[in-house]
Amino acid sequence: MTATTTSPAAVGEVPSFDVTLRIRRYDPDAATPEAFWEEFTVSAHGTDRVLDAMHKVKWDLDGSLTFRRSCAHGICGSDAMRINGRNRLACKTLLKDLDPSKPITIEPIKGLPVVKDLVVDMEPFFASYREVMPFLIAGKNAPTKERLQSAEERARFDDTTKCILCAACTTSCPVFWTDGQYFGPAAIVNAHRFIFDSRDEGAAQRLEILNDKEGVWRCRTTFNCTDACPRGIEVTKAIAEVKKAMITRAF
């Protein structure tokens, strides 16, 4: 045989279907930049994700459709967007789970400046992240081999190590939408990851930073962040733990 290695078809037999995407667009280069809705219809297969449908639009219908993406399997955090009214990763949302009989609305995540179509300016988001000192702060006299840490100590902060900085949480938070000054759940999650790491010695500083008026106390436990997190991190729980740590420290 020739080397036409079998390229496996989609698993099982899932018929293809048509799906309409209703995408919020914005072109900064237009004469009068204005956001508008545009609809595209493409055909899709059972295992296709929203990202696949968007690629079909970009590659076959309108090359100017602009969005970020990289890994295509929910690990790089590039493509958080508001799909049918909720923040999700386009590459992790299967079309068949969305009721494709109705148009699927796709908008940029909320609360960050829109740059073009679905692309937003991520700088304010990363600035908050950088502010919580998201790095291990450990004593000078490091051991020559690894620092010891028990499996339980390691498990204490496991959940928050999963964060991919996709911003789905922060831009789903009603408090963040109000003025964009709130540190936001993602920054708190990344502070949590170190505050509860037994090897870290910078907890006090981080708690002090998050004790700010734009810090944890602005959280109103609305759980949008927890619902939005594509990594399944219990974000609100992490925030609650940080609050508790601060209270224990203050009293």
């Binding site: 919020r24 914005y26 900064p28 930049p33 204005e34 956001a35 508008f36 809705w37 508001r82 049918n84 009214g85 909720r86 609305t105 908008e107 909320k110 400046p113 829109v114 789903s172 009603p174 109103r220 436990t221 609305t222 759980f223 949008n224 927890t226 619902d227 219990e234 609100t236 729980k237 609650a240 609050k243 508790k244």
Partner: protein, 126 residues
Amino acid sequence: MPEAPAGTLYRGREGMWTWVAHRVTGFLIFFFLLVHVLDTSLVRVDPEAYNAVIGTYKNPIMGLGEAGLVAAIVFHALNGVRVMLVDFWSKGTRYQRQLLWGVIVVFVILMAGFLPVQLGHIFGGE
């Protein structure tokens, strides 16, 4: 940032809508409290004026308003308890939805106990 045309409403889930309700009820109660202190102050000014103002509370429309206010307070208070459980109970965040159901059940029970009495008082004739 461009002023975009109306986007869709964020489809938050129970947690978000509960927060909205908590905020709205807190807001309402606050203004009622302002008014309530003011009218009660009339007792210091003149008993008859007080009775006249309080009299207006006794008409059915105000009575219904009063019922609404009680509903607001009951919800705000019960949800306040839920918020505190979420804050302080280690499993609170995981069971926040169940807690909300608890809030709703207790709310319904309390209101079921209160409403007939209140309505009875308002419409129950002299």
